[in-house]
């Protein structure tokens, strides 16, 4: 039996060593995606870390990155504001860990996650590595539940990274608003976009968003509650708002979002300053997904959010 157990242990050690070795090799290969959209995460992370004055921080996925005029909000409330929105694929717990790097007394954190973030917390591997690789601070933000899946994917990512290093270093994608240069100093993507590039049929055919109490897991709500307690222990306030979403992309809306909001507030202790139904907008305000707004949509959504923020600030 000793030989059997020894062999099992050797196998496990060998496999772990291979993945660890590949990861170390990967850290020696320079980061390649600093010009791409994914490169903005480290810019935003560093910007947040450097903050010395308290302000309003918006945290969430790309519904924020391509959906907010943070400068207008900053000027309205005469306080610093920053858009920490990036990509829904990194999911809720990663953002909660990342923003914890610098929370100041007096900060107002506004959580605005896509509805998918309430269902599960599985990070999209390729986007995640594209954004966090070669940055140990960001790598440390990966929640424990995602470590196994992320590292399983590393060899595939590394292969792509090495081939990019050799044949297409530091790619600058020309894909309509998805690179670092499109962002302003407030963290907003200001790429000029004025219309929905999807047809209503395309949106309808891929409608998947359900807004109901069923989409909220107890673990997810518990994580948000812990985050609120952490922030309050520092002296920061936490609120939640709703992502703007294309009306045609909503598959189901349970009693106008009232139950969703009620359960969220009850379980997390975080006040939701907005009504989900107010942020379900017409398709003309969107750009290329259910959550990405065009600049007309950004203006409308920002105004809605300002009104909501006025109730608490």
């Amino acid at each position: 039996m000793f030989r059997f157990i020894r062999n099992i242990i050797i196998t496990v050690v060998l496999i772990v060593s291979i993945f660890a070795g590949l990861f170390c090799v990967g850290q020696l290969v320079p980061y390649q995606y600093d010009k791409a959209y994914t490169g903005i995460l480290r810019v935003k992370y560093e910007a947040n870390k450097k903050r010395t004055e308290p302000g309003i921080i918006f945290v969430g996925g790309s519904n924020l990155a391509l959906g907010l005029d943070t400068e207008k909000i900053s000027k309205t409330f005469k306080t610093p504001a920053y858009n920490f929105g990036f990509h829904a694929g990194l999911k809720r717990d990663f953002y909660l860990n990342a923003i914890k790097a610098n929370i100041l007394e007096g900060d107002v954190i506004v959580l605005i996650f896509e509805y998918s973030a309430y269902i599960e917390d599985l990070m999209t591997e390729h986007v995640t590595w594209n954004s966090i690789d070669n940055d140990m601070d960001l790598i440390k933000c990966v929640p424990a539940s995602n470590v196994f899946n992320l590292y399983r994917y590393y060899p595939i990512y590394l292969f792509k990274k090495i081939s990019d290093t050799m044949f297409n270093p530091h790619p600058i994608p020309d894909n309509g608003g998805y690179n670092v240069d499109c962002f302003n100093e407030y963290g907003d993507d200001v790429y000029e976009r004025y219309e929905n590039i999807r047809t209503p049929e395309e949106v309808k055919n891929s409608a998947y968003t359900v807004i109901s109490t069923d989409i909220m897991s107890d673990e997810g709500l518990e994580a948000l509650k812990e985050f609120r307690e952490y922030c309050e222990s520092i002296g920061a306030k936490v609120y939640a708002s709703c992502p703007s979403i294309d009306r045609l992309g909503v598959k189901e809306l349970q009693d106008n979002g009232v139950s969703f909001k009620k359960r969220y507030e009850e379980k997390t202790g975080i006040k939701m300053i907005s009504e989900p139904s107010d942020y379900i907008l017409d398709t003309e305000y969107f750009y290329d997904t259910d959550y990405h707004l065009n600049l007309t949509g950004v203006e409308l959504r920002t105004n809605l959010l300002i009104e909501d923020l006025k109730t608490v600030l």
């Binding site: 039996m1 030989r3 059997f4 062999n7 099992i8 196998t11 060998l14 496999i15 291979i18 993945f19 599960e120 599985l122 591997e125 390729h126 899946n149 399983r152 994917y153 060899p155 595939i156």
Partner: protein, 490 residues
């Protein structure tokens, strides 16, 4: 606690150590406790039926053995079978029967109101019910002695690797092993680990990846037509094979680590050259159960052609019904029965006689072998349409639309493939690496027991194989695939 979950990865090693470190006398207790813990992890409420089935089967088998007169023996055989099958029918088919009766009455304009119950089917009931029935019949026929030790009998029914989805064990095969005479066998345990890992590869990698393609088509059929439907069905053939044979490999491998040999359940079924051979290689523990407890008692092929056809059709109809209370499953079973009958008689026609499958060594890589293999696979895939379709009308839709547009073959194939793969590049890459690996491995398995062969290799190549398979498993497995096993629903 799914086999492919972290909790099972913790559970199995704990059971392994407790089992091998405990003295022989209490080994059954360790496994029984582990088995009930495993079963209860799905919900304590499910335990009622498994305990009841165990108690009834145990007592009646003992009574069969104690009684001398044939009448009493028969009574103690029939009573528990009626109870066990009655329970199974109630949980599995009550609503189906009720709905069918209602719709028939309505078809004749007779008054009928909907009457269905909210039933929660106990997990694994189809499997442990059949195992109990097989045991009672075997005791009645004198093929196996009644187990006197209640704890060991309870373990026979509830042994955790097979309780939810088989393999359906036979008493004369498993019961003697529950005396735990064997000491730890390195070769057996290593063989078990190899089988377990390969089972994971099949389930987590191949089945998980195929599910993306299949669900994308079968769950949104509107507007789908042509080659895409055929491709999705072929992928489903691989999905269900890998899902269920993967499950079986994990179950058998887990048992082997504990020194127990469970029945082989799959033997590369898609390498079959006839439908009959397919059923000798697919879900063997169930098909042999049907053979031994339904087909042969009905008379098998010994009572003339008409009776033979009747027996085959009945056996496959029951097999279809066993898989689920829906018309799609019934048609699936019926199709297999009809195909097997046709096949039997086709090979009796003059010049076709020489193409009849022969027992003994298989020749795959010859023109006639390949044609038979392809034909069998195509027919099996056709039947899978009914097995997978969400409704009977969906299945009919697929059958009627799958050749739509074939008049212009180039665009038929091109469009079909284009419509099929709305997947990201990484998933496509994973799919096109993992499937060929599976097919090649299965082709090798036809000739040799690869688990054994790898065990006999020299250290360096053996370890290279271990590492390569584990890396493939870890790198190719999708992270967000559906982790449930298809056969859990049956």
């Amino acid at each position: 606690m799914l086999f492919n979950s972290l909790s099972y990865a913790i559970f199995l090693p704990i059971v392994f150590f407790l089992f091998w470190l405990s003295p022989k006398k209490i080994k059954w207790m360790v496994l029984l406790a582990a088995s009930y813990y495993y079963y209860m992890s799905w919900g304590i409420k499910y335990c009622v039926w498994i305990i009841l089935t165990t108690v009834v089967s145990y007592l009646c088998a003992r009574m069969i053995e104690k009684r001398d007169d044939e009448k009493s023996k028969k009574l103690f055989m029939v009573l528990p079978i009626v109870f066990i099958i009655g329970t199974l029918v109630f949980f599995k088919y009550f609503n189906f029967l009720s709905e069918t009766v209602t719709s028939v009455l309505r078809a004749f304009s007779l008054p009928a109101s909907d009457f269905t119950l909210k039933l929660i089917m106990p997990l694994g009931i189809s499997f442990y019910s059949f195992q109990s029935v097989g045991y009672i019949v075997d005791v009645y026929n004198g093929k196996t002695p009644a187990q006197k030790h209640f704890g060991k009998f309870a373990l026979f029914i509830s042994f955790f690797p097979h309780v939810l989805s088989g393999p359906i064990a036979r008493a004369n095969d498993l019961m003697p092993q529950l005396e735990f005479e064997k000491k730890f066998d390195f070769e057996q345990a290593s063989y078990g680990v190899r089988q377990l890992v390969w089972g994971f590869y099949k389930k987590v990698v191949v089945s998980g990846l195929c599910a993306y393609v299949v669900n994308g088509v079968y769950d949104s059929l509107e507007g789908q037509k042509g080659f895409v439907l055929i491709c999705a069905t072929v992928f489903y053939a691989f999905q269900i094979y890998c899902d269920f044979s993967g499950y079986s490999d994990i179950a058998i491998g887990s048992a082997k680590i504990l020194g127990i040999d469970l029945m082989t359940n799959f033997k590369t079924p898609y390498m079959s050259q006839s439908i009959k051979e397919f059923w000798g290689r697919w879900h063997i523990s169930l098909s042999t159960w049907f053979r031994d407890y339904i087909y042969i008692p009905l008379g098998g092929n010994r009572k003339g052609n008409v009776k033979y056809i009747f027996n085959i059709i009945i056996t496959f109809l029951v097999s279809g019904l066993w898989h689920g209370a829906a018309w799609t499953f019934i048609v699936w079973g019926l199709l297999h029965g009809v195909l097997q009958v046709i096949e039997t008689y086709v090979y009796k026609i003059g010049f076709l006689k020489r193409f009849a499958p022969k027992k003994g060594e298989k020749k795959i890589l010859c023109p006639s072998g390949l044609i038979k293999l392809f034909l069998t696979f195509a027919l099996v895939c056709f039947t899978w349409i009914f097995f997978r379709a969400n409704t009977f009308s969906d299945a009919i839709y697929i059958v009627t639309k799958m050749f739509s547009g074939i008049a212009s073959p180039l665009s038929y194939f091109k469009l079909g493939i284009a419509n099929l793969f709305h997947l990201n590049n990484v998933t496509k890459l994973r799919l096109f690496i993992s499937l060929p690996v599976l097919v090649v491995t299965d082709m090798i398995f036809v000739k040799v027991d690869l688990y054994e062969r790898i065990g006999k290799m020299r250290a360096v190549p053996r370890w290279l194989v271990y590492i390569a398979v584990l890396l493939l498993l870890l790198i190719l497995a999708p992270s967000d695939s559906n982790s449930n096993f298809i056969y859990f629903q049956f």
